[in-house]
Amino acid sequence: MPEIRSPLPGSFYRRPAPGQPPFKEVGDKVEPGDVIGLVEVMKSFNEIRADVAGTILSFAVEDEEPVMAGAVLVELEG
């Protein structure tokens, strides 16, 4: 199953800012380069981009939850 992993440890955010809609929802199609979320590490925000195409099956990490480097963020259907 294709996956998108976090290259960094930190906090995962599904929205560009509080109160705004998520970058992507379950069922959305993604293309390589699409932003699927942000990981905040030490107060610096890093865009997480898809490296494969597919349809989002599920988010493995809840909004605002901690992630480890290498952790799966999104599971895709290719």
């Binding site: 440890p9 930190g10 906090s11 905040e40 030490m42 107060k43 901690p66």
Partner: protein, 459 residues
Amino acid sequence: MTIRRLFVANRGEIAVRIIRAAKSLGIETVQAYSEADRDMLAVKLADEAVSVGRPAARHSYLDAAGLVAAARKTGCDAVHPGYGFLAENAEFADMVESFGMVFVGPKADTIRRMGDKAAAREAAIAAGVPVVPGSKGRVADVDAALAAAETIGYPVMIKAAAGGGGRGIRIAETPDDLRRLAPQAQSEAQAAFRDGGLYLERVIENARHIEVQILGDGSRAIHCFERECSLQRRRQKVWEEAPAACLDEATRQRLCASAVALTESVGYRGAGTLEYLYDEPSGAFFFIEMNTRIQVEHPVTEMITGIDLVAAMIRIAGGEPLPVTQDQVTRTGHAIEVRINAEDPAAGFLPCPGTVEYLSVPTDPAIRFDGMIYEGYTVPPFYDSLLGKLIVHGATRGEAIDRMAAALEGFTLTGLKTTVPLHKALAADPQVRAGKAHTRFLEGWLAGNPAFNPPKAAQ
């Protein structure tokens, strides 16, 4: 009242610093920690420690109600906010005092007044302290900003009234720029501070950043001389020193006297800092803002004056008058502090949380390390990247720089990337050694230095 049990509502190196100061005064400490900070040094050093929530700061160190509840539950009679987080949050100060505990800092009304940068400017003007030419208070809208800018003269800096940390700032060279950038600054200010208020200041080109350390007891105030913090990256300080080598003695006296006048005029209680821009060619200085808390770089002042600022602020909060009079505050030699951050300066300052494998800090009476790290400690990714501060003292500025270079050579930390290579390069730089750095120096220096400016593909 005398403080018996102090709640430390912060983390990292400043929490360690507060605990050490409290111990020196015979005060018990209770350390707040988030679930990501269970292993931090301050938890080990405090008499007691209490979990205040999840790793994300807004669920722990920014949760005012949760912190106050934890302080009450653990029987504390005072709360030290450190810096950052809730240190300059007037509602938090009010909440602490509403439960009969002492807030180690100024009164909430003072925080509120000086935290509004436009109101702080007005207070400075009223106290006869020079300010950067700018708008009279907040500007109501873009038209008012354009009218104000005509009087001030371009370029102007558009600043958030509730600002801090370099956010909500834009520079406009022309009226067209101002029309375009003011709404952006307003949105950024609204998002960051929930207050879209703006004011304008003239841009002082190549200014130096000088700040005066003060202590007040609510009626009287003293200064503990100034610091120079011109070496900054993205408006974050990187290297700080005291005294400011660019000031002559007469200017220093006028600068410090102006800081005392403003501090006394607002009835300030505790430790605070007044920030100024200094225009070296004209010798003019301008007040820009006041920080109503202890600052990261307070140790350089402690090294040249011998005053324990954190202990002093706790004693003042406990009801004591100022521990010293102005004529007892003297300075000796020169001190420099560098911030050791978990960042890779060779990769665009990419944050590098991880585990400290080996740590060795040189021991010498002229070297001080205020840190939060120990071997085996895993630096969490949820907070800022400051690991500690290396501070040195020398008889002269040149001697202090030599000692800093030697201290950095003797400082070994493995397991993480740090900003030590940057500080080594700065200590060896002829311009830095000559004291030529202004507030825009470092970013230009980094851009022209291949070691810190790798090709984009390498980042």
